[in-house]
């Protein structure tokens, strides 16, 4: 499998994740709608995370929660991120392509990193991750 997805600027992919009841001071993986862990990058391609949007269904009264793209559950150092905090219930962040490609065979996911002051243990979180598959 190679080059089937090639067109002008790569094959855009949008992924939807969610998670409820995230604890403070943790890194928690969000899941696909039925509980799956994420998108496995097909052979011959790399996934470039470009945009992440995070949202809570209630206000974060204290602390922060940072949404980050992951590769095999490991948070990307140079991926897009979005931070929720008090009075910031929706946030998004972007990153250029080629900043930290996720290689074939790895699972693309999203985690939220909460600090010790995070007090929104019962909120529901949604995240949208947008990226492109480019030939490796």
């Amino acid at each position: 499998m190679s080059n089937e997805l090639t067109f002008q600027d790569g094959m855009p992919i949008t992924l939807v994740f969610s998670k409820a009841n995230v604890e403070p001071n943790t890194t928690t993986a969000l899941t696909l709608p039925q509980g799956g862990v994420g998108l496995k990058v097909p052979t011959g391609y790399a996934f470039h995370a470009l945009l992440i949007s995070g949202e809570s269904n209630a206000d974060i009264s204290a602390g922060t929660g940072i949404f980050k793209a992951t590769a095999n559950t490991t948070v990307l150092t140079n991926g897009p991120s979005a931070t929720l905090s008090d009075l910031v219930q929706v946030a998004s962040g972007v990153m250029r392509p080629h900043a930290e490609p996720i290689t074939a065979g790895k699972i693309v996911g999203v985690s939220v990193v909460t600090d010790a002051n995070w007090s929104a243990n019962t909120v529901d979180l949604d995240a949208v991750l947008v990226g492109v598959l480019l030939p490796a």
Binding site: M1, E4, L5, F7, M11, P12, I13, T14, L15, V16, L32, P33, Q34, G35, G36, V37, G38, L39, K40, V41, P42, I107, L133
Partner: protein, 132 residues
């Protein structure tokens, strides 16, 4: 709408809980919707399908295909079995075109004896809307 863009990338999330053996299981959008209706003036070209079971297959296999109005179309599919809990496949545009007005979805055909029947499925389907 067909004059707006040369093509529109679309990614869709489908799910299914408790896959039935020896049956065609029709996946739904996260809240139960049947799928994505192709707008007038466009055809949907499936490009990539990604499927994941939340539990390892213990017997037989399950094949997932792109569907138009609930009927599988030839071309893009993946199969999950005891050695593949996650699978992904891709194809070029123009191979399969789903016409305007049809509802794009995913069907999962589980072989007789497929287990576990308690498994949950996540599928990501990506494609392009290209003017006809």
């Amino acid at each position: 709408m067909s004059d707006v863009l040369d093509y529109i990338p679309v990614s869709l999330s489908y799910r299914f809980q408790e896959v039935q053996a020896n049956a065609t299981n029709r996946l739904t959008l996260p809240n139960g919707g049947a799928g994505f209706k192709v707008p007038t003036g466009y055809a949907f070209h499936p490009r990539m399908i990604h499927a994941e079971l939340d539990t390892a297959v213990t017997a037989q296999s399950i094949a997932l295909s792109v569907a138009a109005d609930g009927v599988a179309v030839s071309g893009l599919s993946v199969t999950l079995n005891a050695s593949a809990q996650v699978a992904v496949s891709a194809q070029r545009p123009q191979v399969v075109k789903i016409a305007a007005g049809a509802v794009v979805s995913v069907v999962a055909v589980a072989a007789p004896g497929f287990t576990p029947t308690t498994a949950g499925l996540d599928v990501v389907l990506s494609g392009l809307l290209i003017p006809v």
